[in-house]
Subunit: 335 residues, 2 copies
């Protein structure tokens, strides 16, 4: 590998001049700069980022701590992050925790050792010890869809409560009065619980009474949606619509409905939440609340860029709006 020293030696210059030439320092004579550039090209010079980082204390690397890259939801967000990171000269180190809290801590430590300039955290809850680990990082950290804000950690998220209400209201406006709900884990204060609250709030708004018999807890996975739906359909009177707290459970519900001989949307309307790629693949295509997945990533990375540049954030939290995407699973197009 050729180094700056090599170039300097060949040209009879000092290493520091070479450095300045290569880095567009103003005070370097145009012809020496050109000579240096030319030599660099000719000698196939590639700057050693490690050395540079060591000298400047800027690595231009960010860490991404994520639950599961094989999950469409996270993969999509990751795409957004990588995109703007790259556009600004940053590389991203991928840390997949598999929801293992021990790994979350381990990765946080690892990233610190690797001298990353910033971290995006999107894995698991934020128990005290994780918050502590985040706080003691010497680089900025932003969380996505986590309750970071209450701990003073910059966050980008959606308003789960409001968006769930939006979905419910859509069904109500379609004429449904008996609406089942399949929730996520209710001990999940970030997306599980608030979506249920939004559902309840929308019902209340319209004077529809809440019936626990047609709300069932799931775990955001398809199978749990199937089971929950089966329980819900035993209630009398049966619901004419089902709102699932994410697409996978909605799809599970559709499967169960079809097994039970119900047609979607003719007999039962189904609406989901997230708008991952699954929503378009299933038949009928799923009407759903579209989280701006990609934008969750880009916004978080942009936030991080500001922080890494030493700027203060105008708002510690960015709340993104979701879009109701009407496909076929609820029939009519609504209002």
């Amino acid at each position: 590998m050729t180094t700056m020293k090599d170039i300097a030696k060949v040209l009879g210059l000092n290493e520091s001049t070479v450095s300045r030439a290569l880095n567009n320092h103003p005070y370097v004579r145009p012809e020496t700069r050109e000579k240096v550039m030319e030599a660099a090209r000719r000698m196939n010079y590639r700057p050693n980022t490690l050395a540079r980082s060591l000298a400047t204390s800027r690595s231009y690397v960010v860490g991404l701590v994520i639950s599961n890259i094989a999950n469409l939801f996270f993969a999509e967000v990751t795409k957004g992050i990588e995109e703007v990171a790259d556009a600004h000269g940053y590389s991203v180190i991928l840390c997949d925790t598999g929801r293992n809290p021990a790994k979350e801590l381990k990765y946080l430590d690892l990233l610190a050792r690797r001298q990353v300039d910033g971290i995006i955290f999107m894995s698991g809850r934020l128990p005290a010890h994780v918050v502590a680990a985040i706080k003691q990082q010497s680089c900025p950290v932003v969380t996505i869809s986590r309750d970071g804000t209450r701990h003073g950690i910059p966050t980008v998220r959606i308003n789960n409560r409001a968006e769930a209400a939006k979905a419910t209201r859509y069904l109500i406006n379609l004429g449904h009065r008996r609406i089942g709900f399949i929730s996520g884990q209710l001990d999940d204060a970030e997306s599980g619980l608030p979506r249920l609250e939004g559902y309840r709030a929308a019902l209340e708004e319209s004077g529809i009474e809440f019936d626990p018999a047609i709300v069932q807890e799931g775990d955001f996975r398809m199978e749990s949606g199937m089971r929950a739906c089966a329980r819900i359909m035993q209630a009398a009177p049966r619901p004419t619509a089902i709102f699932a707290a994410n697409d996978e459970m909605a799809i599970g519900a559709m499967k169960t409905l079809s097994q039970l001989g119900f047609k979607v949307p003719a007999d039962v309307a189904v609406i989901g939440f997230d708008d991952t790629a699954f929503a378009t693949v299933v038949t009928p295509p799923l009407t759903t609340i579209a989280q701006p997945l990609r934008m969750l990533g880009t916004s978080a990375m942009e936030m991080l860029l500001k922080l890494m540049a030493g700027q203060r954030l105008a708002e510690i939290e960015t709340v993104l709006e979701c879009q109701l995407v009407v496909r076929a699973s609820c029939g009519g197009t609504g209002l």
Copy 2:
């Protein structure tokens, strides 16, 4: 940040002794080692990986160059890679090219500057200039599902031809004689073309004549599967089964079939290829050739580990076996 020098100063030792103590060098007195460890803990010492890498010329970072992380296929492979990388102390830098050839080259260069110890390349074709860029890397490179082998680049892949034949044979054994095929891009010599060849080979084996009217080219995306299927179903006699070169196109085909009023599998059996998460989500669940996605990743990473350790590979290429996963889209369970 506390450094080794700090620890050394506090304990009245030399930096080098601290280094050796921390790195389990044999020649260091147990009590000094213990003192160092204790001080490191107390002072909250975190080794600076960058500095270490600079001194040792080992970064313990690998680069992953990939087409699109938001694609389930790649995401799943990535998961496998990250898993074994982490287990061996390596971090992975994610490089999403979006199939942009310019970005492929850019990332290859970037990774070299970042002094990665190895690269896994899984993006686009391998035209001469990319091969050249790979060859001139000073670290080992392995490709996944690319025709790297012919250029002497270590590769892990599946036997697309044989696996496609397996799928076709399955349909034949189910009694189908009129089998449509939706191919990938035929200029894709790695997975597009060979799957068609496998299809043809299996037909020939059974003395079924190849009918171009019922094989249509797609581009591996759902919409292309829909269009291709529509064309295929115009042929007379109509096929009783369709083999699509990947799951997404198979699902597209199922959509079209259902629009045309055909039942799957009663009227037309459908089989896919890949076994991404889509296959289980769709109704009926898709029978498909399951690529060992995760293992493609783990094998590639293991291969890379060997190379990075300076070992020679017994085989420059690893060919993984696929599994036929029988679900409902072809009806019967076969033989």
